[in-house]
């Protein structure tokens, strides 16, 4: 198989400094080094006399950037790389000649790609990304619910970033989802009136017969407890059935709470139970729709504890107000049922015949389940209440609308607005008021109209003349700044500084950056940037093989993902050195992750920094399970994936994609099957066409070999000894992960600094970096490195760079 296929997205290569030679130098290079090779090896069949495959190489334009031949050159590269050209029986290229020609082609193709994707080093009008849209609605409307699932996902480039204006496209489906979401959000922010609150309680709920088992006579004594369920459909064990509480009175929209009052006991080895709540309704026959509301790991205690879950009625498969469920036809069902499970991972072998007294597992006894909804406490929020200010009872509606819109539109458009814009909105309100016959409904519709406008959805920096770059005005700067660091609109303080113009003062700007980094909203940047930079979403593409990793679960996967995010948050929020991403003396752990790694004495669901001992083999992101999974096929580690990941993410230097017909490692080859994976990969590199790229990839990945496909440490497995000693491309030999980390920090410090600088700059600017940005990147990266890898310095550097301050 092609080793990089999973990483290969037909994406836009990043421009690398070294490839930006002057074009006449390129021409000279071509005439001197490449043309003679083509003449001696290719032209006889692909020239004037013969045109095998309809291809004349002598007529291809050697200028890949400006010429029209880049695609043909790419085919030439593929043919050579696959060893199909020159064909058998023809004069072959020596290894050195092969390297000369393929290296030239790769570099020129990268340049051509960068040229095609160029935005002239300037920002485009950029649509908000999916998460920015959600955050902006939260900050603008004061809503609490997450609507982002209703918006299509955005495309991610090879650099992993999702803020690139070129890729943030628009379609009617996108637009329709925006309108749907802004209407829901406005319904939430401006509700029609206080709703009747429903409350209910079910004491000692009975087991739900979800698997059609014979009814159990009584759940007395220890049988009151719920045992861990190995799966929601598989088990026949009676004691792991969920407890079910049904509520007949409930609202049909809005937030609600399920409160579980319970007692939790740990197993003798200290494992804690995990409680899961599903919410749904019983419709008919086999149709029993339920959806998970949440999971929580409980503290062990003899005392009754309270566990709360908050959700949104609309998100669950429930009947509708008029008695119809939208999915099941004509069943008159309006109730809501909560199912309480114990979803702890059991250690014991539980069978049909097991006795509850005999298994040593964490258990949960449910004392009561309570329902309350809709939740009105702190809801709508102050921001939401301020959307329609309070007026005297006899106030004129048109005046009220105008006042509200005069406040709302500048906030929504993130700038000062014109009188025409206000009067257009007021006129719209008047028409909608007549149409709907209701003040609030008309206000919601008017605001919805404003929120699907390009003036809201896009970050607009009007600039009719793009022949020269211009300085941003203070509102545009406030907007760029807040979308970079908060993924959302400017707050009141930024807006005030934009209005007064003070934000353009560099000292004020720097002070704002510091303030923004210390604000809770900075965590949004940290979460999304970390995930994008490190390519965390690729975790979803790897299915871990349950036969090889029987103890692995989706729950562990989610916790490993959360570990990586918690780690990024800890480093960025506390402004620790970013060298911690390579090596740290702590790990961010919770019970699930610590158990997976075999680190003792960590209990509870919250992530916290835990000091590490060297023999625990952790620290930094390279040792995190997320990236072990990404660098595997779900069954075993794959050093090639891991090498590609490292170069792509930490060096921002992705290797070229494999040629289309790259042969797989032939594992059935009897000579290979006796070898370890490392040896197989070494053997594979003996072929010159493979070696050229793989010499630059595989050695990085081999150093990860002590981590299995799920990130657990290993030294030996059956007959296989894992040897993570690796000779790196520059000849340095490192002993496994510890050696690799040391090498990276000592020898590749500036590569790391430059890579992170490039990724963060591209994220902040919302575009590809180009030739004109190289100087900026170099300056920022060296400042960043000298600062001891403090993200605060890098962020400040980016924000005060010319590229960030101009359109």
């Amino acid at each position: 198989m092609s080793p990089f296929s999973k990483f290969f997205t037909l994406a836009i290569f990043c421009l690398v400094g070294s490839v930006c030679a002057q074009s006449n130098a390129v021409e000279k290079d071509f005439e001197a080094k490449i043309k003679p090779l083509l003449r001696s090896h290719c032209i006889r069949c692909h020239g004037e006399k013969k045109q095998e495959g309809d291809l004349r190489i002598d007529q291809l334009d050697p200028d890949l950037v400006k010429g029209q031949s880049a695609d043909f050159w790419h085919e030439v590269l593929n043919q050579i790389n696959e060893g199909r050209m020159p064909p058998e029986g023809e004069r072959q290229l020596s290894t050195k000649q092969l390297n000369t020609i393929t290296a030239w082609l790769e570099i020129e193709l990268k340049k051509a790609a960068a040229h095609r994707n160029s935005t002239g080093g300037r920002q485009l009008m950029r649509r908000m990304s999916r998460y920015e849209f959600q955050y902006t609605l939260q900050d603008l409307l004061g809503i609490a619910l997450d609507y982002s699932d209703r918006v299509p996902t955005d495309l991610t480039g090879e650099d992993g970033l999702q803020t690139n204006a070129r890729r943030l496209g628009m379609s009617q489906i996108q637009l329709a989802s925006y309108l749907e979401v802004v209407q829901l959000a406005l319904d939430e922010a401006i509700p029609d009136g206080p709703e009747k609150v429903h409350k209910g309680e079910v004491k000692s709920p009975r087991p739900a017969n979800v698997r059609k088992q014979p009814r159990h006579k009584g759940f007395k004594g220890k049988a009151r407890f719920i045992a861990p369920s190995p799966g929601l459909t598989k088990s026949n064990f009676i004691h792991d059935l969920p407890r079910k509480a049904t509520f007949d009175e409930r609202p049909f929209a809005g937030r609600f709470r399920i409160r579980v009052r319970c007692i939790a006991t740990a197993s003798s080895d200290g494992r804690l139970p995990e409680l899961m709540v599903q919410v749904g309704h019983r419709a008919s026959g086999d149709y029993d729709p339920k959806k998970i509301m949440g999971r929580k790991i409980l503290k062990a205690s003899d005392k009754e504890q309270i566990v709360d879950f908050i959700g949104n009625i609309e998100d669950f498969p429930l009947g509708k107000k008029d008695g119809y469920y939208n999915g099941s036809g004509s069943h008159n069902v309006t109730h809501l049922s909560a199912y309480i499970w114990n979803t702890t991972q059991a250690k014991s072998k539980i069978t049909k015949k097991s006795q509850l007294d005999e298994i040593d597992e964490p258990l949960i006894e449910v004392k009561a389940v309570e329902f309350e909804g809709p939740l009105l406490e702190g809801y709508p929020s102050q921001i939401a209440k301020d959307l329609l200010p309070e007026f005297e009872a006899d106030a004129d509606e048109a005046t009220m609308a105008r006042t509200a819109l005069e406040r709302f539109i500048p906030r929504a458009y993130r700038r000062q607005v014109t009188d025409e814009e206000i009067s257009h909105a007021v006129k719209t309100f008047n028409d909608f008021r007549e149409f709907t016959g209701d003040f609030k409904a008309a206000m919601r519709s008017t605001m919805a109209m404003l929120l699907i406008s390009p003036k809201f959805i896009y970050l607009v920096e009007p600039s009719p003349d793009d022949s020269r770059a211009r300085k941003l005005n203070s509102f545009e700067l406030a907007t760029r700044l807040s979308y970079f660091l908060w993924g959302s609109m400017p707050d009141d303080e930024l807006r005030a500084l934009a209005t007064s113009g003070e934000l353009l003062n560099p000292d004020v700007l720097k002070a704002q950056v510091t303030r923004m980094r210390n604000d809770a909203r900075f965590k949004r940047f940290v979460k999304h940037f970390s995930a994008q930079w490190l390519g965390l979403d690729a975790m979803d593409h790897v299915a871990v093989n349950p036969k090889v990793h029987p103890n692995f679960s989706d729950d562990i996967r989610e916790n490993l993902r959360a570990e990586t995010l918690a780690f990024g948050e800890h480093v960025f929020v506390n402004d620790l050195s970013c060298r911690n991403f390579i090596q740290s003396d702590f790990a961010m752990l919770n019970q699930v992750v610590a158990q997976h790694y075999g680190i003792p004495d960590v209990y509870g669901h919250e992530f916290r920094p835990v000091s590490l001992k060297p023999n625990e083999h952790r620290g930094g992101v390279l040792t995190q399970g997320s990236f072990s999974i990404i660098g595997s096929d779900g069954t075993d580690s794959n050093p090639i994936y891991r090498g590609v990941w490292l170069r792509k993410r930490l060096f921002a230097d992705p290797p070229p994609p494999p040629p289309p017909g790259a042969p797989p490692l032939n594992k059935e080859d009897p000579d290979l099957s006796r070898l370890s994976l490392k040896q197989q990969i070494e053997a594979h590199r003996k072929a010159a066409t493979c070696a050229r790229c793989h010499n630059q990839i595989d050695p990085w990945g081999v150093a990860f070999e002590n981590y299995d496909a799920t990130g657990r440490w290993r030294t030996q497995q059956a007959q296989v000894m894992f040897d993570a000693t690796s000779k790196l491309p520059d000849g340095e030999v490192v002993a496994g992960m510890a050696g690799l980390k040391k090498y990276l920090l000592e020898k590749r410090s500036s590569t790391l600094a430059e890579a992170l600088t490039r990724r963060m700059s591209a994220y902040a600017l919302g575009r590809e970096l180009e030739f004109s940005d190289i100087e900026m990147v170099k300056t920022l990266a060296s400042r960043f490195e000298k600062s001891g890898f403090k993200a605060s310095h890098l962020i400040e550097g980016i924000v005060t760079s010319d590229a960030f301050l101009t359109k």
């Binding site: 198989m1 092609s2 990089f4 296929s5 999973k6 290969f8 997205t9 037909l10 994406a11 836009i12 309809d54 790419h74 085919e75 593929n78 051509a112 790609a113 994707n117 935005t119 485009l124 009008m125 495309l155 890729r167 496209g169 628009m170 379609s171 009617q172 489906i173 637009l175 309108l179 119809y324 939208n326 999915g327 099941s328 036809g329 004509s330 814009e421 257009h424 149409f435 709907t436 919805a448 109209m449 699907i452 406008s453 390009p454 003036k455 896009y458 607009v460 009007p462 600039s463 009719p464 003349d465 793009d466 593409h541 790897v542 299915a543 096929d633 994609p657 289309p660 017909g661 797989p664």
Partner: protein
Amino acid sequence: MTTKSWQLNRRQVLRGTGSIALSLPFLEAMASDGEAKVAAELPKRIACIFFPNGVSLPPTKDKAHKDWHWFPFGEGRDYSLTKSTEALEPHRGQITFLSGLSHPAGRRMAGHGVSDVFLTAGPVNANAYNNTISMDQVIAEKIGEETRLKSLALSCGGGVGTLGRTHTLSFTKNGQPIPAEGNIRRCFNMMFGQDNANLKKARQELLLKRSMLDRVLEDSRSLKNKLNARDRVKLDEYLASMRDYERRIQRMESWLNKPKAEVDESSLSLDASRETVEDYIRSMYDLMFHAFQTDTTRVITHMLGIEGGGSKSDKFPEALGLKPHHALSHRKGGTFEDWGKWDQFMSENFAYFINRLKNAQEGDGSVLDRSLIMYGCSTSTTHLAKNYPLILAGGSQMGLNHGQFRKFDENKVRLSDMYVSMMNAMDVPTKKFGDSTGELNEIFSQA
């Protein structure tokens, strides 16, 4: 609209018979517009079905060559199927095997990006991702207004996926991926869910939405003069989306006045999940069948699996005790025979779909006769984006001449040429699509 006493509407029929019949054949005895339609007015439909990772093509010396080579042996009318596709034997008169076709631009693509261009032939290459409209959407643009859903994109992955490995076959005219539906129940509700209780309210909401769009357009036109050329491209994309959306709302308004087709949901496994593979695949085919038969849509794309490894669909072969599909395609831990067994399973399910269409009477023929079905993949074997394994089925009333294994010279004929012919067969007059250089008339004759 006046209703003559001898014409029954669907609801009356349903009430009269006491039990709900399986999705009523389209206009078998009645017409929604009050006039019985003649055969020429019966709908023409198209479905494009994609499976990932190529097919088993053991080399001649391999012991599996005889039995598990996806492409049949022989040529023209004289060809024989292997075990890989033997399930299609009963449908020989309704299908054509094709070899040698591909998208030349795609031949240069590496890895698993090939599904992105299966229906677009887009200029997606190592240098730039500039995808273009997919064939189905060109057709939907033209004929989509006739049905409740302009088109339907299905995929076991759902959503849009990632650049270079999208979860959908359908792309807008800007080359943006159109999110596909992978959840059977949601899809069923969209097409057949009976929730028209608040019809008046729904109409009012649509009217209000349309009015909002008008106001936005009014207000944003002035923006254009303030932008430079690059930004204007972005604004134009927005404005075009806005107009498309407006048309969609208008269409929804007109459909609100007509009842949805009724399909008995108990005849379907609506809760089939990706864990019960055969049930899931067949349920998806069932939905496609009902969508066509009830004329809920005339254009469907369906991605049976996602390219490459790691996806849920990649694990489907495990249901047969085989390795994941991507591993099979690289013959890691599996032989050509194993891979062929998966091809066989997929062929059986495809045959099931053909069979359903064939057994449904419509006019003087079957639904299949007016449904043009393409089934295939944009790699023949491991990462080789040439010689796509392709089958055309159905559409005998649309000019298709079946019963043959057609071999084409990849240097002379392009898959886009066939797409041009397919679009013409769908009454969407087309001279050129993607990189086409002509038409592929030998399979099509004007009916």
